[in-house]
Amino acid sequence: MGTLKKAEKDIHPMDDLLRMDRIPHIWCPGCGIGTAVTAFAAGLAKAEIDLKKTCIVSGIGCTGRVAGYVKLDSFHTTHGRGIAFATGIQVANPDLKVIVFSGDGDLISIGGNHFIHAARRNVNMLVICINNFIYAMTGGQVAPTTPLATYATTSPFGCVEPPFNIPYLADSSGAVYVARWTALHVRRLTNSIAEALKKPGFSVIEVISPCAMYYSRINRLGDGLDMMKFYHDNTEIRHGEDTKNLDIGFQTKITVGKFVDRERPTYMDSYNKWLSGTKKD
């Protein structure tokens, strides 16, 4: 590490935003997380926000390692508690913009409670949720996003639980900005991230991403490239679609786009309003 040649280093446009001294990263060939991180870095640059006042929090899992590669004040915390940790940061210092970058198992399974509560409170943060339909770090267990009848190591005879529709869950708990893209839609994802970064309140961007090592292998879906091809052929952009129609089945069509963009007072807005109310008496 640290042996990256100077020439390469000079040409890399994300140098300021990524921790080059940690490259190579741990992600497998064909994984979509790296792409999402690149889009995130580009989105950060595009949003033109104060990077000093921006920090990133991750939980545990493959995507949980993202915080370690992004050159911001970055925190790699416990499993599922990224949002709770970020809530503390945001409320203690409202000037900061916090990004929680983690996986589906982390944010929606063990962290599900923090997810819905932070959305309800409308805490000012951007949640980027990489959804690869499986627990990859631990070796391919069934996740709350695994489609019905899909194989995983802890559902060796097919998954028997319907998956979460993450945008719908975010929407109904109160998120102000909800979008979904795949690892293929790099440019749109970048724009979406840039847009959401400027949006006060709880924003959620779901990124459908291939896991070539486990999800694809267990279900015989080919490699990362095959998955990308699948996304190419089977995604449909429908902005503003009602979030309840966004279910994903096994290899079914995936609707992507920006679904929710609304205004609601953030947690700190309500807090300050309340505080000014109590001060009067």
């Binding site: 000093k52 004040d73 925190f75 915390t77 416990t78 508690r81 809530t87 503390g88 210092n93």
Partner: protein
């Protein structure tokens, strides 16, 4: 460090323990509380909220205790001194993040107002059965500092001490109170704002790109910075090097974890505090802390009146345990008597440190009301009668006896 004058209510007040503890926190500079309400710690939150607007302190009621401590650790990295309050069941839920606080070396304070347990126990009844949990409750190796106040005044003082320790050693510190102390209403004297020394955060002052979040000073404590200052640091709960980057090797595990223990173990003498009462000539020493302090003092007086030479050792700091002090006393005295409102926790530590030099008599106190010294005096008499050193703890049983 100067404290906001509104935060410090200099003067003499009549407060319950829970309120005094919040006053202590404000005095120490605490400006962030994340908690989930639980009996018998509710009054802390109420007090905090009542005063927060004046003090300029933030409160958030989180969805559970797991997230409460996570938020506190996050908030601490923004530069705010942070606090959470809870009781037994909530304390259990915090165990995973106690480990995270240790690993990220984040200063924060946890107030645990103990109640009768296990499980839901009896929410409004006093207990002292989380003592060992405070030391051993999270997975993996770590050391914590735990203070056990015995009065509202001590709730105030020890909370300040806790914040000072947490900043000095960059570690979570636990104030382990109990329902009795937390609800006791007593006189609390709050000194002038600069009357008690407040330990400031140990900030890194060098060049931005030179900052290493886990590079240790000579006393094994690393320096901190705040989020949002442009240091672009990384911290992780994984085993890491000075930079905070994970390295999954046994060498790094040794490099990372052993000093986390050293920073406490090597400063034991600076941390440990206790109060002795009449131990100079004592044949029997009562070892006590928290809620049992009053009754222990009462028993010492009663026993002295009967002509028995009894002394007392009150543990202000319970963890790290005063091994040396106990070992020293063990060589002089005949026996220790340990009253606890549990079925034997700190007493086993006393047994360990007495090295077979003194008997250890345990009294599971509280079943008869914690202000009644009769049992304790009987236990002292029992300890006095025992001529030989017994193997193991001698348990004094009152009439109620075993179930």
């Amino acid at each position: 460090m100067k404290t906001n004058s509104k935060a410090v209510m200099t003067g003499t007040h009549i407060l319950i323990g829970n309120e005094a503890c919040i006053e202590g926190a404000f005095y120490a500079g605490c400006r962030f509380l994340a908690a989930y309400p639980i009996e018998p710690a509710i009054e802390t939150i109420e007090r905090y909220l009542k005063r927060s607007a004046d003090v300029g302190a933030t409160f958030i009621q989180m969805e559970d205790e797991i997230s409460a401590l996570a938020a506190v650790i996050g908030a601490s990295w923004t530069g705010k001194k942070s606090l959470t309050v809870t009781s037994g069941p909530g304390f259990s839920n915090m165990m995973e993040h106690l480990g995270l606080g240790v690993m990220l070396e984040t200063p924060c304070v946890i107030i645990d107002v103990q109640r009768a347990g296990p499980a839901l126990g009896i929410p409004n009844r006093v207990g002292q059965a989380d003592m060992m949990q405070a030391r051993w409750g999270s997975h993996g190796d770590y050391e914590v500092i735990t203070l056990a106040p015995s009065s509202p005044q001590e709730m105030f003082d020890f909370t300040i001490k806790a914040f000072n320790f947490s900043e000095k050693y960059r570690t979570p510190v636990i104030v382990i109170s109990d329902e009795y102390v937390a609800h006791k209403k007593e006189k609390v004297i709050i000194p002038l704002a600069d009357g008690i020394k407040i330990t400031p955060r140990r900030y890194f002052k060098g060049q931005k790109d030179k900052y290493l979040p886990f590079k240790r000073d000579k006393d094994f404590v690393p320096r901190m910075v705040d989020i949002g200052e442009g240091f672009k640091f990384h911290v992780t709960g994984l085993t890491h090097d000075d930079k905070g980057y994970p390295i999954m090797l046994e060498e790094c595990q040794e490099y990372n974890v052993h000093p986390i223990l050293w920073k406490i173990r090597n400063h034991v003498d600076e941390i440990i505090e206790f109060q002795e009462t009449g131990t100079e000539d004592a044949e029997i020493v009562i070892v006590y802390y928290g809620a049992t302090s009053e009754v222990a003092l009462k028993a010492i007086k009663q026993a002295r009146d009967l002509g028995i030479k009894v002394g007392g050792l009150k543990l202000d700091v319970v963890w790290p345990f005063p091994d040396k002090k106990i070992a020293e006393l063990a060589e002089k005295v005949k026996a220790f008597v340990v009253p606890e409102i549990n079925y034997g926790q700190i007493v086993s530590e006393v047994e360990r440190c007495s090295y077979g030099n003194a008997n250890v008599v345990f009294l599971s106190h509280g079943e008869k009301g914690i202000d009644n010294a009769d049992d304790l005096v009987s236990a002292i008499k029992l300890a006095l009668k025992e001529e030989k050193i017994k193997k193991g703890i001698i348990e004094y049983q009152n009439q109620a006896g075993r179930a």
